[in-house]
């Protein structure tokens, strides 16, 4: 027996309906592999809207000896874990602008939001809707979180947990994409997400409900019946609807694998519930509670190895409901009032700090879960230049965590027109996917950013 990790999360028993133990067998394999050599590496993307107010954000000083801007005050205790990147552009956006004759795009929220995680062109719906407000623009490719989820999450219960808070619904809700036009809306219901992630998971020493086997077998029969309906419908439905039914079938089958077994995982803390009150609009306190609950969901699912990739989406394209009495979008253009911008952006930094602290609280091997994770703060855009237009150059990206010693932390790095494509490729390499040398729109990638990888 290998000890380092098995002590932490030894699989005691796998139990369930006939033939339903499959999802947790690969987990055992990962455990054994991990104990042999490399730690399990993980990644979380953290989205906030409307950029970060640059005069109060950018550090001053040198690469290794720098003073961070006021907005990053909450991250001061973690400065040695951070990598702050200056000079990274959304290059795929500029490429699409240059291609404008063929691939129309305007500098509005809906046409550009799809670039942020996919590093690829967005698709003009050509339906006459106004690009300044239309919800109909779509991304044309898979986003980096979903891409990594597919690569890293093969043996885990979830490939990618897309969780949200601070209003993910009203406008421009989709940022994560499983493929062209296949947007994933963030799950803003922390209680529901908790239930979905942990359904059936038994913590250490918990008493197994004697009726559980019957319940799981019945659930399987019900889900099989529903699959029969979907298959029947697939045969009769019009061509344009087939994709939706096929998609539904695929998700249902994947879910059936998860929900018809009851794995028992040692040292995996499974609380009864992750209770949080419904957030009220304009109430940063309750939004903060919701964000905490979602961070808890991420930390718990990582510590039980139910997922290795997460996406935490605060707000949506062009705003959130964490207003503190200010109009977030107007402020991001006008730069007025500065105290409003600083307040909201400091709030975001606090949440990012909280995420770091929560992961640091989970022991793993000789250190903590944070040591083997990289966090990528993805602000929607830049907040610079005359008039504070929503520029897409010099977007303030920030990373945290060495990802198992693969990243040079405690850095303030400056680049000259680097691409966020290459930033994502760097993240892939840190996660061990060193064969990933292209991502998103072809012809942009140049390889990992200098100075980040150890």
């Amino acid at each position: 027996m290998k000890h380092r990790l098995l002590n932490r999360r030894q699989l005691l028993a796998t139990f369930g309906a006939a033939g339903a133990l499959s999802p947790f067998v690969p987990l055992l394999q990962h455990e054994a592999d991990a104990a042999d050599a490399e730690p399990t590496r993980r990644v979380i993307f953290f989205f906030t809207p409307l950029g970060l107010y640059e005069p109060k954000f950018w550090p001053t000083g040198t690469e290794t000896n720098f003073q961070m801007g006021q907005i990053l005050d909450p991250l001061a205790p973690h400065q040695k874990d951070l990598m702050i990147l200056k000079g990274v552009d959304l290059s795929s956006y500029f490429a699409q602008v240059a291609d404008n004759a063929k691939f129309h795009i305007t500098n509005d929220h809906p046409p550009v939001i799809g670039h942020i995680l996919t590093a690829d062109y967005t698709i003009d719906p050509k339906d006459g809707s106004n690009p300044a407000t239309s919800n109909a623009w779509e991304a044309s490719n898979v986003s980096i979180d979903q891409f990594l989820g597919k690569k890293l999450g093969q043996g885990t219960r979830y490939q990618d947990l897309v969780l949200g808070a601070g209003d993910n619904g009203f406008y421009l809700p989709k940022i994560s994409y499983t493929g062209a036009k296949q947007g994933v809306k963030a799950d803003g219901d922390a209680n529901g997400a908790f239930a979905r992630i942990f359904i059936g998971v038994q913590g250490t020493g918990s008493q197994v409900d004697p009726q559980l086997a019957q319940r799981l077998a019945e659930r399987k029969s019900v889900l099989d019946y529903v699959q029969g309906d979907l298959n029947g419908l697939l045969a009769t439905v019009a061509t344009e609807d087939k994709q939706k039914i096929r998609d539904h079938l695929e998700r249902l089958r994947a879910m059936e694998q998860r929900v018809t077994s009851a794995p028992q995982v040692a040292a995996c803390v499974v609380p009864k519930t992750n209770d949080n009150p419904k957030p009220g609009a304009h109430d940063p306190t309750s939004v903060q509670q919701l964000i905490s609950a979602q961070i808890e969901n991420l930390a718990l699912s990582f510590s039980c190895d139910l997922a290795r990739v997460g996406f935490l989406q605060i707000g949506h394209g062009a705003g959130s409901d964490i207003a503190f009495g200010f109009d977030e979008h107007d402020m991001s253009h006008s730069g007025n009032p500065v105290e409003g911008l600083v307040k909201i952006h400091t709030f975001y930094a606090q949440q990012f700090a909280h995420l770091i602290e929560r992961l640091k609280a989970v022991p793993e091997g000789p250190g903590t879960l944070f040591d083997n994770t990289v966090l990528v703060w993805v602000p929607e855009m830049a907040n610079n230049g005359p008039g504070r237009a929503h520029n897409r150059n010099n977007v303030p990206f920030l990373l945290a965590g060495s990802c198992g010693g693969r990243l040079n932390t405690g850095r303030f790095l400056s680049y000259d027109k680097a691409s966020h494509t290459d930033l994502y490729i760097t993240v892939c390499h840190a996660l061990g996917l060193t064969d990933v040398n292209d991502f998103g729109h072809p012809g942009i990638a140049k390889g990992p950013l200098a100075g980040l990888l150890t």
């Binding site: 300044a132 809306k185 889900l223 249902l252």
Partner: protein, 476 residues
């Protein structure tokens, strides 16, 4: 189904008013309105459907078994599941479905009795695509197909109630009494008398005016709630009690106001209860219908935003997009100039005039209302000039106007507004944008709407009776 439709169906069929779908991920939008039209299905949704189905089924057999299954002998199970299936799927079950569901019933009942058998059946039905989606096959061959009777009934009920058909509507479908525009119109009139239509109408206006934004724009959440309640009560009044016409919608001075709203309108009524809204007639010099009320004004803060709503949503005009090369900047308030003169500067600036020259002349009518929507007789120290020019391409209403009350009066009798409103309602009724081939239906609906003096309920009846509403296109 949208989340609202899901909640309404389980309320109407299972008697469960817990509104479980409100925690599902958000609906897609068609224009400003909820509509689930996207092609992707996410894990969050499939998981939520299961969790919700299990919870609803457990509650149903625990709390309402007798209502759902008056006979609980094993021999009655097939009749029970057929009756529930018909309401949930909006059509009779096929024999194959009934047999499959019976097997699930047997699995559950043999282990733990009748109630448990029914529980499994409900779990399956509530996750079936025939419950979750609007499935339409049409009848006959060819690109344009007449809807089947049950499909027709479902369209009607999801349009007018955002819920599944009731027994009366299903009975009409059983006996093939939904085949003509007259029989459909008769059903529509019956259904409009039901409170579910009033709720649907309220939701239409809430989405159209984007009152969800009030949560972001109004700092006091209690005030935002008061505004939504005020809108609901106003819509009830003008749609169902004051003739339902556009004239009432845009010109009625009726208002139902709680304490917050009274303060907003400057009405003093010391004896009135704080939270229960009371009826008032607003000051004719300051307020008229929908466009001069708090919910609209507070959700559309500025002159161009208010002008834009009138152009986009009442006249269905496409306002030109800003030049992407331009920086869009917020107006920096100038203490030495009136708000109007500051906006007017935008009409000269080459960078701004593209949009502002179209938006502002319509928005100036609203200058008597500040950003929050409160009436003001002075803009700080400046006199207010709320004159503007309407240019809707209609000689009878176009030209100079003075203030939002005059503007509302013109819009209420405008043929262009009637046409725009009927197109918007058409899109909501059919869950799709209008197409070239809808020209005849649209013309027929507009004529009926005009003939009924711009009555919204009659507009809904006309849409339900139109050919587009009873047909589907196999390949759009």
């Amino acid at each position: 189904m949208t989340r609202t439709e899901y909640d309404n169906v389980v309320r109407d069929v299972l008697g469960d008013d817990s509104a479980p779908a409100q925690s599902f991920v958000g609906d897609d939008k068609l224009g400003l309105f909820d509509a689930n039209i996207a092609s992707s299905v996410q894990d969050t949704m499939v998981s939520a459907y299961m969790t919700s189905a299990e919870a609803l089924a457990a509650t149903a057999v625990k709390a309402r078994l007798t209502a759902l299954a008056p006979c609980q002998e094993l021999g009655c199970s097939r009749a029970v599941l057929e009756s529930l299936g018909k309401r949930l799927y909006r059509r009779p079950l096929t024999d194959i479905e009934a047999a499959g569901l019976s097997r699930l019933f047997d699995l559950g009942s043999s282990a733990s009795g009748f109630a448990h058998g029914l529980e499994l059946v409900l779990q399956a039905m509530l996750q079936s695509p025939y419950f979750l989606y609007h499935v339409e096959a049409g009848t006959g061959a060819g690109p344009v197909q007449q809807l089947g009777a049950y499909e027709q009934a479902a369209r009607l009920s999801f349009f007018l109630w955002e819920s599944s058909p009731d027994e009366a509507l299903l009975n009409a479908a059983d006996s093939k009494q939904l085949g003509t525009p007259e029989t459909i119109a008769a059903q529509a009139r019956r259904m409009l008398a039901d409170p579910r239509s009033a709720e649907m109408t309220r939701r239409f206006y809430r989405q159209w005016l984007r009152v969800a934004q009030l949560d972001h724009l109004v700092t006091d959440p209690a005030m935002a709630d008061s505004m939504v309640n005020e809108l609901d009560a106003f819509i009830d009044q003008v749609t169902w009690k004051e003739g339902g016409t556009l004239d009432a919608l845009f010109n009625s001075r009726s208002a139902f106001l709680d304490d917050n709203a009274r303060r907003f309108y400057g009405i003093s009524d010391p004896g009135a209860p704080a939270t229960a809204a009371q009826p008032y007639q607003l000051d004719a010099a300051q307020r008229s219908g929908l466009l001069t009320r708090a919910p609209f004004l507070a959700a559309n803060l500025t002159v161009p935003a208010r002008g834009k709503f009138v152009l986009n949503q009442l006249l269905c005009q496409v306002v030109p997009d800003p030049d992407p090369a331009l920086m869009v900047q917020a107006l920096t308030p100038d203490p030495n100039a009136s708000e109007r003169s500051q906006w007017q500067a935008h009409e000269v600036s080459p960078a701004c005039k593209g949009c502002h020259a179209a938006l502002d002349p319509v928005g100036f009518g609203f200058l008597h209302y500040d950003r929050a929507g409160k009436y003001r007789s002075l803009d700080r120290t400046f006199a207010i000039d709320a004159t503007g020019i309407l240019n809707a391409g209609q000689p009878d209403i176009d030209g100079a106007y003075d203030g939002a009350i005059d503007l509302s009066r013109r819009l209420a009798k405008s043929e262009a507004v009637r046409g725009c409103m009927s197109d918007i309602w058409f899109t909501v009724a059919l869950d799709r944008m209008t197409r070239e081939q809808d020209a005849c239906s649209k013309e027929q609906i507009r004529e009926a709407f005009a003939k009924a003096n711009g009555s919204i309920p009659e507009l809904l009846v006309a849409i339900a009776g139109s050919p587009a509403f009873s047909h589907r296109r196999a390949a759009p």
